[in-house]
Symmetry: C2
Subunit: 279 residues, 2 copies
Protein backbone atom coordinates (compact mmCIF):
# COMPACT_ATOMS: atom_id res chain seq x y z
CA UNK A 1 0.00 0.00 0.00
CA UNK A 2 1.39 3.35 -1.10
CA UNK A 3 0.40 6.51 0.73
CA UNK A 4 1.03 9.59 -1.41
CA UNK A 5 2.50 12.34 0.76
CA UNK A 6 3.38 14.95 -1.89
CA UNK A 7 2.91 15.65 -5.57
CA UNK A 8 4.43 18.38 -7.73
CA UNK A 9 3.94 18.90 -11.43
CA UNK A 10 7.36 19.11 -13.09
CA UNK A 11 8.41 19.26 -16.77
CA UNK A 12 4.98 18.07 -17.83
CA UNK A 13 5.12 15.04 -15.54
CA UNK A 14 4.75 14.46 -11.81
CA UNK A 15 7.14 14.27 -8.87
CA UNK A 16 5.48 12.18 -6.19
CA UNK A 17 6.59 11.11 -2.71
CA UNK A 18 5.16 7.97 -1.14
CA UNK A 19 5.23 6.42 2.30
CA UNK A 20 4.83 2.65 2.74
CA UNK A 21 5.60 -0.12 5.17
CA UNK A 22 8.52 -2.21 3.93
CA UNK A 23 8.27 -5.84 4.90
CA UNK A 24 11.92 -6.27 3.90
CA UNK A 25 13.20 -3.48 6.13
CA UNK A 26 10.52 -3.88 8.80
CA UNK A 27 9.90 -0.15 9.03
CA UNK A 28 8.05 2.65 7.30
CA UNK A 29 9.91 4.10 4.32
CA UNK A 30 9.54 7.14 2.07
CA UNK A 31 10.62 7.22 -1.56
CA UNK A 32 10.15 9.57 -4.50
CA UNK A 33 9.16 8.90 -8.11
CA UNK A 34 9.20 11.12 -11.15
CA UNK A 35 6.61 10.03 -13.68
CA UNK A 36 7.17 11.57 -17.12
CA UNK A 37 4.28 12.82 -19.27
CA UNK A 38 4.45 9.63 -21.38
CA UNK A 39 2.70 7.67 -18.58
CA UNK A 40 -0.55 9.12 -19.88
CA UNK A 41 -0.32 6.79 -22.87
CA UNK A 42 1.24 3.65 -21.38
CA UNK A 43 3.92 2.26 -19.10
CA UNK A 44 7.47 3.57 -19.11
CA UNK A 45 10.83 2.09 -18.08
CA UNK A 46 12.28 2.96 -14.68
CA UNK A 47 15.65 4.23 -13.65
CA UNK A 48 16.58 3.60 -10.01
CA UNK A 49 18.84 6.23 -8.43
CA UNK A 50 20.75 5.23 -5.32
CA UNK A 51 21.94 8.22 -3.31
CA UNK A 52 25.06 8.70 -1.24
CA UNK A 53 25.72 8.96 2.47
CA UNK A 54 23.31 11.15 4.51
CA UNK A 55 20.82 11.57 1.64
CA UNK A 56 17.09 10.89 1.68
CA UNK A 57 14.82 10.56 -1.34
CA UNK A 58 14.83 14.34 -1.69
CA UNK A 59 18.41 15.27 -2.61
CA UNK A 60 18.36 13.75 -6.06
CA UNK A 61 14.91 14.98 -7.00
CA UNK A 62 15.62 18.53 -5.87
CA UNK A 63 19.21 18.97 -7.02
CA UNK A 64 20.19 16.67 -9.89
CA UNK A 65 18.15 18.35 -12.61
CA UNK A 66 17.33 14.96 -14.12
CA UNK A 67 13.65 15.48 -14.81
CA UNK A 68 14.01 17.60 -17.92
CA UNK A 69 15.61 14.81 -19.93
CA UNK A 70 13.56 12.09 -18.23
CA UNK A 71 10.46 13.92 -19.48
CA UNK A 72 11.93 14.17 -22.96
CA UNK A 73 12.88 10.48 -23.10
CA UNK A 74 9.89 9.04 -21.23
CA UNK A 75 11.67 7.39 -18.30
CA UNK A 76 10.40 7.17 -14.72
CA UNK A 77 12.93 8.11 -12.03
CA UNK A 78 12.88 6.45 -8.60
CA UNK A 79 14.84 7.67 -5.59
CA UNK A 80 14.68 5.42 -2.51
CA UNK A 81 15.96 6.46 0.88
CA UNK A 82 19.53 5.40 1.80
CA UNK A 83 18.73 3.23 4.83
CA UNK A 84 15.91 2.00 6.99
CA UNK A 85 14.78 4.79 9.31
CA UNK A 86 12.84 5.48 12.43
CA UNK A 87 12.99 5.25 16.17
CA UNK A 88 12.98 1.46 16.09
CA UNK A 89 15.93 1.20 13.70
CA UNK A 90 19.37 1.26 15.35
CA UNK A 91 21.82 3.84 14.03
CA UNK A 92 25.48 4.55 14.57
CA UNK A 93 26.07 4.39 18.34
CA UNK A 94 28.31 7.45 18.10
CA UNK A 95 25.87 9.33 15.87
CA UNK A 96 28.28 9.36 12.91
CA UNK A 97 26.94 10.16 9.42
CA UNK A 98 28.85 7.40 7.62
CA UNK A 99 27.08 4.44 9.19
CA UNK A 100 23.53 3.49 10.18
CA UNK A 101 20.75 5.95 9.34
CA UNK A 102 21.43 7.41 5.90
CA UNK A 103 24.19 4.85 5.32
CA UNK A 104 22.68 1.45 4.56
CA UNK A 105 25.29 0.73 1.88
CA UNK A 106 22.74 -1.31 -0.13
CA UNK A 107 23.78 -4.60 1.49
CA UNK A 108 21.82 -7.26 3.36
CA UNK A 109 23.24 -7.22 6.88
CA UNK A 110 24.01 -10.54 8.53
CA UNK A 111 25.06 -9.36 11.97
CA UNK A 112 22.98 -8.33 14.98
CA UNK A 113 21.55 -5.83 15.61
CA UNK A 114 21.72 -4.67 11.96
CA UNK A 115 20.30 -7.86 10.44
CA UNK A 116 16.83 -6.98 11.66
CA UNK A 117 16.35 -3.92 9.41
CA UNK A 118 19.38 -3.27 7.21
CA UNK A 119 18.47 -5.17 4.04
CA UNK A 120 18.66 -2.35 1.50
CA UNK A 121 19.80 -4.66 -1.31
CA UNK A 122 16.63 -6.70 -1.18
CA UNK A 123 14.52 -3.59 -0.72
CA UNK A 124 15.99 -1.85 -3.78
CA UNK A 125 16.32 -4.91 -6.03
CA UNK A 126 13.12 -6.76 -5.15
CA UNK A 127 10.53 -5.13 -2.91
CA UNK A 128 10.53 -1.64 -4.41
CA UNK A 129 10.37 -2.67 -8.11
CA UNK A 130 7.65 -5.22 -7.36
CA UNK A 131 5.65 -2.59 -5.52
CA UNK A 132 6.09 0.03 -8.23
CA UNK A 133 5.38 -2.30 -11.13
CA UNK A 134 2.16 -3.36 -9.44
CA UNK A 135 1.04 0.15 -8.45
CA UNK A 136 2.32 2.67 -10.99
CA UNK A 137 2.48 2.90 -14.80
CA UNK A 138 6.01 1.52 -15.00
CA UNK A 139 7.10 -1.77 -16.58
CA UNK A 140 9.98 -4.18 -16.02
CA UNK A 141 12.52 -2.31 -18.14
CA UNK A 142 14.88 -1.24 -15.36
CA UNK A 143 18.14 0.66 -15.16
CA UNK A 144 20.14 1.55 -12.07
CA UNK A 145 22.67 4.25 -11.21
CA UNK A 146 23.84 6.19 -8.21
CA UNK A 147 26.37 8.45 -6.53
CA UNK A 148 29.19 7.64 -4.12
CA UNK A 149 27.79 5.03 -1.68
CA UNK A 150 24.90 4.78 -4.14
CA UNK A 151 27.29 4.32 -7.05
CA UNK A 152 28.68 1.33 -5.19
CA UNK A 153 25.10 0.24 -4.58
CA UNK A 154 24.12 0.47 -8.24
CA UNK A 155 27.16 -1.49 -9.37
CA UNK A 156 26.62 -4.20 -6.77
CA UNK A 157 22.85 -4.50 -7.26
CA UNK A 158 23.30 -4.95 -11.01
CA UNK A 159 26.35 -7.22 -10.85
CA UNK A 160 24.72 -9.52 -8.29
CA UNK A 161 21.50 -9.81 -10.29
CA UNK A 162 22.19 -10.53 -13.97
CA UNK A 163 19.13 -10.01 -16.12
CA UNK A 164 17.41 -7.72 -13.66
CA UNK A 165 18.68 -4.44 -15.13
CA UNK A 166 19.16 -3.39 -18.72
CA UNK A 167 21.58 -0.58 -17.96
CA UNK A 168 24.04 0.59 -15.32
CA UNK A 169 26.07 3.68 -14.55
CA UNK A 170 27.59 5.56 -11.62
CA UNK A 171 28.89 8.95 -10.58
CA UNK A 172 31.85 9.00 -8.20
CA UNK A 173 31.14 5.47 -6.91
CA UNK A 174 32.94 3.81 -4.03
CA UNK A 175 34.56 1.39 -6.45
CA UNK A 176 36.14 -0.96 -3.95
CA UNK A 177 34.51 -0.72 -0.49
CA UNK A 178 36.82 -3.44 0.79
CA UNK A 179 39.66 -0.94 0.35
CA UNK A 180 37.89 2.21 1.56
CA UNK A 181 37.48 3.37 5.16
CA UNK A 182 33.76 4.02 4.63
CA UNK A 183 33.25 0.53 3.24
CA UNK A 184 35.38 -1.15 5.89
CA UNK A 185 33.48 0.51 8.71
CA UNK A 186 30.09 -0.34 7.23
CA UNK A 187 30.89 -3.90 6.17
CA UNK A 188 32.54 -4.82 9.50
CA UNK A 189 29.28 -3.91 11.23
CA UNK A 190 26.73 -5.11 8.69
CA UNK A 191 28.59 -8.21 7.47
CA UNK A 192 30.94 -9.06 10.34
CA UNK A 193 34.70 -9.28 10.59
CA UNK A 194 35.14 -12.18 8.14
CA UNK A 195 36.34 -10.35 5.06
CA UNK A 196 35.65 -13.31 2.78
CA UNK A 197 31.95 -12.45 3.12
CA UNK A 198 32.62 -8.90 1.95
CA UNK A 199 33.64 -10.00 -1.56
CA UNK A 200 30.02 -10.53 -2.55
CA UNK A 201 29.38 -6.80 -2.01
CA UNK A 202 32.41 -5.30 -3.74
CA UNK A 203 32.12 -4.05 -7.33
CA UNK A 204 35.71 -4.85 -8.25
CA UNK A 205 35.40 -8.40 -6.91
CA UNK A 206 32.04 -8.92 -8.61
CA UNK A 207 33.27 -7.66 -11.99
CA UNK A 208 36.03 -10.27 -11.93
CA UNK A 209 33.47 -13.07 -12.07
CA UNK A 210 30.39 -11.47 -13.64
CA UNK A 211 28.15 -13.47 -16.00
CA UNK A 212 26.71 -10.34 -17.57
CA UNK A 213 28.72 -7.44 -19.00
CA UNK A 214 26.46 -4.36 -18.97
CA UNK A 215 28.40 -1.42 -20.45
CA UNK A 216 29.43 0.91 -17.65
CA UNK A 217 29.45 4.71 -17.76
CA UNK A 218 31.29 6.20 -14.77
CA UNK A 219 31.94 9.91 -14.20
CA UNK A 220 34.41 11.13 -11.59
CA UNK A 221 35.54 14.63 -10.61
CA UNK A 222 39.27 15.02 -10.22
CA UNK A 223 38.87 17.61 -7.45
CA UNK A 224 36.67 15.24 -5.44
CA UNK A 225 37.97 15.29 -1.86
CA UNK A 226 37.13 11.57 -1.47
CA UNK A 227 38.76 10.43 -4.70
CA UNK A 228 41.97 8.77 -3.56
CA UNK A 229 40.96 7.33 -0.21
CA UNK A 230 37.30 6.33 -0.63
CA UNK A 231 36.39 6.15 -4.33
CA UNK A 232 39.43 4.71 -6.14
CA UNK A 233 38.18 4.66 -9.74
CA UNK A 234 41.52 3.32 -10.95
CA UNK A 235 40.75 0.04 -9.20
CA UNK A 236 37.48 -0.15 -11.10
CA UNK A 237 39.34 0.54 -14.32
CA UNK A 238 41.83 -2.25 -13.56
CA UNK A 239 39.07 -4.72 -12.62
CA UNK A 240 37.22 -4.00 -15.85
CA UNK A 241 40.37 -4.17 -17.97
CA UNK A 242 41.37 -7.52 -16.47
CA UNK A 243 38.21 -9.22 -17.73
CA UNK A 244 37.25 -7.01 -20.64
CA UNK A 245 34.23 -5.48 -18.92
CA UNK A 246 33.11 -2.52 -21.04
CA UNK A 247 33.80 0.70 -19.11
CA UNK A 248 33.69 4.34 -20.11
CA UNK A 249 35.39 6.13 -17.20
CA UNK A 250 35.46 9.89 -17.59
CA UNK A 251 37.62 12.01 -15.29
CA UNK A 252 36.60 15.65 -15.06
CA UNK A 253 39.22 18.21 -14.00
CA UNK A 254 38.08 20.58 -11.27
CA UNK A 255 34.80 18.85 -10.40
CA UNK A 256 34.07 17.85 -6.79
CA UNK A 257 31.73 15.39 -5.05
CA UNK A 258 28.67 17.66 -4.91
CA UNK A 259 25.37 17.77 -6.75
CA UNK A 260 26.89 20.54 -8.87
CA UNK A 261 29.03 17.77 -10.34
CA UNK A 262 26.13 15.35 -10.62
CA UNK A 263 23.89 17.91 -12.34
CA UNK A 264 26.62 18.69 -14.86
CA UNK A 265 26.70 15.13 -16.20
CA UNK A 266 23.32 13.60 -15.32
CA UNK A 267 21.93 14.13 -18.83
CA UNK A 268 24.62 11.88 -20.27
CA UNK A 269 23.64 9.16 -17.80
CA UNK A 270 19.98 9.37 -18.74
CA UNK A 271 20.87 9.02 -22.41
CA UNK A 272 23.24 6.13 -21.64
CA UNK A 273 20.39 4.30 -19.93
CA UNK A 274 17.81 5.22 -22.57
CA UNK A 275 19.91 3.57 -25.27
CA UNK A 276 19.52 0.24 -23.42
CA UNK A 277 16.05 0.74 -21.93
CA UNK A 278 14.47 1.40 -25.32
CA UNK A 279 16.55 -1.07 -27.30
CA UNK B 1 36.24 42.93 -0.33
CA UNK B 2 34.91 39.54 -1.32
CA UNK B 3 35.82 36.48 0.72
CA UNK B 4 35.27 33.29 -1.27
CA UNK B 5 33.70 30.65 0.98
CA UNK B 6 32.94 27.89 -1.56
CA UNK B 7 33.57 27.01 -5.17
CA UNK B 8 32.13 24.17 -7.27
CA UNK B 9 32.79 23.45 -10.89
CA UNK B 10 29.45 23.15 -12.69
CA UNK B 11 28.58 22.81 -16.39
CA UNK B 12 32.05 23.94 -17.38
CA UNK B 13 31.84 27.08 -15.24
CA UNK B 14 32.02 27.85 -11.55
CA UNK B 15 29.49 28.21 -8.74
CA UNK B 16 31.04 30.44 -6.10
CA UNK B 17 29.77 31.69 -2.75
CA UNK B 18 31.13 34.92 -1.30
CA UNK B 19 30.93 36.66 2.06
CA UNK B 20 31.30 40.42 2.31
CA UNK B 21 30.42 43.33 4.53
CA UNK B 22 27.57 45.33 3.05
CA UNK B 23 27.78 49.03 3.83
CA UNK B 24 24.19 49.39 2.64
CA UNK B 25 22.79 46.74 4.98
CA UNK B 26 25.37 47.28 7.74
CA UNK B 27 25.95 43.57 8.20
CA UNK B 28 27.88 40.68 6.70
CA UNK B 29 26.16 39.06 3.73
CA UNK B 30 26.62 35.91 1.68
CA UNK B 31 25.70 35.63 -1.98
CA UNK B 32 26.30 33.12 -4.79
CA UNK B 33 27.45 33.61 -8.35
CA UNK B 34 27.54 31.22 -11.28
CA UNK B 35 30.26 32.19 -13.76
CA UNK B 36 29.84 30.45 -17.12
CA UNK B 37 32.83 29.09 -19.06
CA UNK B 38 32.77 32.16 -21.33
CA UNK B 39 34.40 34.28 -18.59
CA UNK B 40 37.70 32.76 -19.65
CA UNK B 41 37.61 34.91 -22.77
CA UNK B 42 35.97 38.13 -21.56
CA UNK B 43 33.22 39.65 -19.47
CA UNK B 44 29.66 38.34 -19.56
CA UNK B 45 26.26 39.85 -18.79
CA UNK B 46 24.65 39.17 -15.40
CA UNK B 47 21.23 37.96 -14.45
CA UNK B 48 20.14 38.79 -10.90
CA UNK B 49 17.82 36.25 -9.29
CA UNK B 50 15.75 37.42 -6.33
CA UNK B 51 14.46 34.55 -4.21
CA UNK B 52 11.26 34.18 -2.26
CA UNK B 53 10.43 34.12 1.43
CA UNK B 54 12.73 32.06 3.69
CA UNK B 55 15.36 31.47 0.98
CA UNK B 56 19.08 32.16 1.15
CA UNK B 57 21.48 32.31 -1.79
CA UNK B 58 21.48 28.51 -1.92
CA UNK B 59 17.95 27.55 -2.96
CA UNK B 60 18.15 28.87 -6.49
CA UNK B 61 21.64 27.60 -7.19
CA UNK B 62 20.86 24.10 -5.91
CA UNK B 63 17.34 23.61 -7.19
CA UNK B 64 16.49 25.75 -10.22
CA UNK B 65 18.65 23.92 -12.76
CA UNK B 66 19.55 27.23 -14.40
CA UNK B 67 23.28 26.68 -14.89
CA UNK B 68 23.04 24.40 -17.90
CA UNK B 69 21.53 27.07 -20.13
CA UNK B 70 23.52 29.87 -18.48
CA UNK B 71 26.66 27.98 -19.50
CA UNK B 72 25.36 27.54 -23.02
CA UNK B 73 24.43 31.20 -23.40
CA UNK B 74 27.32 32.75 -21.48
CA UNK B 75 25.42 34.55 -18.73
CA UNK B 76 26.52 34.96 -15.11
CA UNK B 77 23.86 34.19 -12.51
CA UNK B 78 23.76 36.02 -9.16
CA UNK B 79 21.67 34.97 -6.18
CA UNK B 80 21.69 37.39 -3.22
CA UNK B 81 20.24 36.53 0.15
CA UNK B 82 16.65 37.64 0.85
CA UNK B 83 17.31 39.96 3.79
CA UNK B 84 20.02 41.32 6.01
CA UNK B 85 21.05 38.67 8.52
CA UNK B 86 22.84 38.14 11.77
CA UNK B 87 22.52 38.56 15.49
CA UNK B 88 22.55 42.36 15.20
CA UNK B 89 19.71 42.48 12.67
CA UNK B 90 16.20 42.52 14.14
CA UNK B 91 13.81 39.88 12.83
CA UNK B 92 10.11 39.21 13.27
CA UNK B 93 9.35 39.58 17.00
CA UNK B 94 7.11 36.49 16.81
CA UNK B 95 9.64 34.50 14.79
CA UNK B 96 7.38 34.32 11.74
CA UNK B 97 8.88 33.31 8.39
CA UNK B 98 7.08 35.96 6.33
CA UNK B 99 8.76 39.02 7.82
CA UNK B 100 12.27 40.01 8.91
CA UNK B 101 15.08 37.52 8.34
CA UNK B 102 14.56 35.88 4.95
CA UNK B 103 11.84 38.38 4.11
CA UNK B 104 13.40 41.74 3.22
CA UNK B 105 10.91 42.32 0.39
CA UNK B 106 13.56 44.23 -1.60
CA UNK B 107 12.45 47.61 -0.21
CA UNK B 108 14.33 50.36 1.59
CA UNK B 109 12.75 50.53 5.04
CA UNK B 110 11.92 53.93 6.47
CA UNK B 111 10.71 52.94 9.92
CA UNK B 112 12.64 52.10 13.08
CA UNK B 113 14.04 49.63 13.90
CA UNK B 114 14.03 48.26 10.33
CA UNK B 115 15.53 51.34 8.69
CA UNK B 116 18.94 50.54 10.14
CA UNK B 117 19.51 47.36 8.07
CA UNK B 118 16.58 46.58 5.77
CA UNK B 119 17.64 48.30 2.55
CA UNK B 120 17.55 45.36 0.16
CA UNK B 121 16.54 47.50 -2.83
CA UNK B 122 19.73 49.57 -2.66
CA UNK B 123 21.80 46.46 -1.94
CA UNK B 124 20.47 44.57 -4.96
CA UNK B 125 20.25 47.49 -7.38
CA UNK B 126 23.41 49.39 -6.47
CA UNK B 127 25.90 47.89 -4.03
CA UNK B 128 25.95 44.34 -5.32
CA UNK B 129 26.29 45.15 -9.06
CA UNK B 130 28.98 47.74 -8.35
CA UNK B 131 30.88 45.22 -6.27
CA UNK B 132 30.56 42.45 -8.84
CA UNK B 133 31.39 44.61 -11.83
CA UNK B 134 34.54 45.78 -10.06
CA UNK B 135 35.60 42.32 -8.82
CA UNK B 136 34.43 39.66 -11.28
CA UNK B 137 34.45 39.23 -15.07
CA UNK B 138 30.92 40.60 -15.50
CA UNK B 139 29.93 43.77 -17.31
CA UNK B 140 27.05 46.22 -17.02
CA UNK B 141 24.60 44.23 -19.15
CA UNK B 142 22.11 43.32 -16.43
CA UNK B 143 18.84 41.44 -16.27
CA UNK B 144 16.68 40.74 -13.23
CA UNK B 145 14.13 38.07 -12.34
CA UNK B 146 12.81 36.30 -9.30
CA UNK B 147 10.19 34.14 -7.63
CA UNK B 148 7.28 35.08 -5.38
CA UNK B 149 8.56 37.83 -3.03
CA UNK B 150 11.56 37.93 -5.36
CA UNK B 151 9.32 38.24 -8.40
CA UNK B 152 7.85 41.31 -6.77
CA UNK B 153 11.41 42.43 -6.06
CA UNK B 154 12.54 42.01 -9.65
CA UNK B 155 9.55 43.91 -11.03
CA UNK B 156 9.99 46.75 -8.56
CA UNK B 157 13.77 47.03 -8.90
CA UNK B 158 13.51 47.27 -12.70
CA UNK B 159 10.47 49.54 -12.78
CA UNK B 160 11.98 51.99 -10.26
CA UNK B 161 15.29 52.17 -12.14
CA UNK B 162 14.78 52.69 -15.87
CA UNK B 163 17.93 52.06 -17.86
CA UNK B 164 19.55 49.89 -15.20
CA UNK B 165 18.31 46.53 -16.55
CA UNK B 166 18.00 45.29 -20.09
CA UNK B 167 15.53 42.53 -19.28
CA UNK B 168 12.95 41.52 -16.70
CA UNK B 169 10.86 38.46 -15.85
CA UNK B 170 9.20 36.76 -12.90
CA UNK B 171 7.85 33.41 -11.74
CA UNK B 172 4.79 33.50 -9.51
CA UNK B 173 5.45 37.09 -8.38
CA UNK B 174 3.54 38.91 -5.68
CA UNK B 175 2.04 41.20 -8.30
CA UNK B 176 0.35 43.69 -6.00
CA UNK B 177 1.81 43.64 -2.47
CA UNK B 178 -0.56 46.43 -1.46
CA UNK B 179 -3.36 43.90 -1.88
CA UNK B 180 -1.66 40.84 -0.41
CA UNK B 181 -1.43 39.86 3.26
CA UNK B 182 2.32 39.19 2.95
CA UNK B 183 2.90 42.58 1.37
CA UNK B 184 0.65 44.42 3.82
CA UNK B 185 2.42 42.92 6.83
CA UNK B 186 5.88 43.69 5.46
CA UNK B 187 5.13 47.18 4.17
CA UNK B 188 3.34 48.27 7.35
CA UNK B 189 6.51 47.47 9.29
CA UNK B 190 9.19 48.53 6.81
CA UNK B 191 7.39 51.56 5.34
CA UNK B 192 4.91 52.55 8.04
CA UNK B 193 1.16 52.82 8.09
CA UNK B 194 0.83 55.56 5.46
CA UNK B 195 -0.22 53.56 2.44
CA UNK B 196 0.58 56.39 0.04
CA UNK B 197 4.27 55.53 0.60
CA UNK B 198 3.65 51.92 -0.43
CA UNK B 199 2.77 52.85 -4.01
CA UNK B 200 6.43 53.32 -4.87
CA UNK B 201 7.02 49.62 -4.08
CA UNK B 202 4.08 48.03 -5.87
CA UNK B 203 4.54 46.58 -9.37
CA UNK B 204 0.99 47.33 -10.49
CA UNK B 205 1.26 50.93 -9.33
CA UNK B 206 4.69 51.38 -10.92
CA UNK B 207 3.61 49.94 -14.27
CA UNK B 208 0.86 52.54 -14.47
CA UNK B 209 3.44 55.32 -14.63
CA UNK B 210 6.58 53.63 -15.99
CA UNK B 211 8.94 55.50 -18.35
CA UNK B 212 10.43 52.28 -19.69
CA UNK B 213 8.48 49.31 -21.01
CA UNK B 214 10.72 46.24 -20.73
CA UNK B 215 8.82 43.23 -22.14
CA UNK B 216 7.66 41.06 -19.27
CA UNK B 217 7.64 37.26 -19.16
CA UNK B 218 5.65 35.94 -16.18
CA UNK B 219 4.97 32.26 -15.43
CA UNK B 220 2.39 31.17 -12.88
CA UNK B 221 1.22 27.75 -11.74
CA UNK B 222 -2.54 27.38 -11.54
CA UNK B 223 -2.27 24.94 -8.59
CA UNK B 224 -0.16 27.42 -6.61
CA UNK B 225 -1.63 27.58 -3.10
CA UNK B 226 -0.80 31.30 -2.89
CA UNK B 227 -2.28 32.28 -6.25
CA UNK B 228 -5.53 33.98 -5.35
CA UNK B 229 -4.67 35.62 -2.05
CA UNK B 230 -0.99 36.57 -2.35
CA UNK B 231 0.08 36.56 -6.01
CA UNK B 232 -2.84 37.90 -8.04
CA UNK B 233 -1.44 37.75 -11.57
CA UNK B 234 -4.72 39.02 -13.01
CA UNK B 235 -4.03 42.40 -11.40
CA UNK B 236 -0.67 42.49 -13.15
CA UNK B 237 -2.38 41.63 -16.42
CA UNK B 238 -4.90 44.45 -15.93
CA UNK B 239 -2.18 46.95 -14.99
CA UNK B 240 -0.19 46.08 -18.10
CA UNK B 241 -3.23 46.12 -20.35
CA UNK B 242 -4.29 49.56 -19.09
CA UNK B 243 -1.06 51.20 -20.30
CA UNK B 244 0.03 48.81 -23.05
CA UNK B 245 2.95 47.39 -21.10
CA UNK B 246 4.16 44.30 -22.99
CA UNK B 247 3.36 41.19 -20.93
CA UNK B 248 3.51 37.50 -21.73
CA UNK B 249 1.67 35.87 -18.80
CA UNK B 250 1.63 32.09 -18.99
CA UNK B 251 -0.66 30.11 -16.68
CA UNK B 252 0.34 26.47 -16.19
CA UNK B 253 -2.33 23.97 -15.12
CA UNK B 254 -1.30 21.75 -12.21
CA UNK B 255 1.93 23.54 -11.28
CA UNK B 256 2.48 24.73 -7.72
CA UNK B 257 4.75 27.30 -6.01
CA UNK B 258 7.79 25.02 -5.60
CA UNK B 259 11.18 24.81 -7.26
CA UNK B 260 9.76 21.92 -9.31
CA UNK B 261 7.68 24.61 -11.02
CA UNK B 262 10.60 27.03 -11.29
CA UNK B 263 12.91 24.37 -12.77
CA UNK B 264 10.29 23.45 -15.37
CA UNK B 265 10.29 26.94 -16.89
CA UNK B 266 13.62 28.51 -15.95
CA UNK B 267 15.18 27.81 -19.36
CA UNK B 268 12.57 29.97 -21.04
CA UNK B 269 13.43 32.81 -18.69
CA UNK B 270 17.14 32.55 -19.44
CA UNK B 271 16.42 32.70 -23.16
CA UNK B 272 14.02 35.62 -22.67
CA UNK B 273 16.80 37.53 -20.93
CA UNK B 274 19.48 36.48 -23.39
CA UNK B 275 17.51 37.98 -26.26
CA UNK B 276 17.83 41.40 -24.59
CA UNK B 277 21.23 41.00 -22.92
CA UNK B 278 22.96 40.14 -26.19
CA UNK B 279 20.97 42.50 -28.40
Amino acid sequence: MLEEIAVNRCFGGWHRRYRHYSSTLRCTMVFAVYLPPQVESGTVPTLYWLSGLTCSDENFMQKAGAMRVAAELGIALVAPDTSPRGAGVPGDPAGAWDFGHGAGFYVNATQPPWVEHYRMHDYVVHELPELLEASLPVDTRRGIYGHSMGGHGALVCALRNPGRYRSLSALAPISHPLGSPWGQKAFSHYLGEDRAAWQAWDACALIARADERLPLLVDQGEADAFLAEQLQPELLRQACAAVGHPLRLRLHPGYDHSYYFIASFIDDHLRHHAAALFR
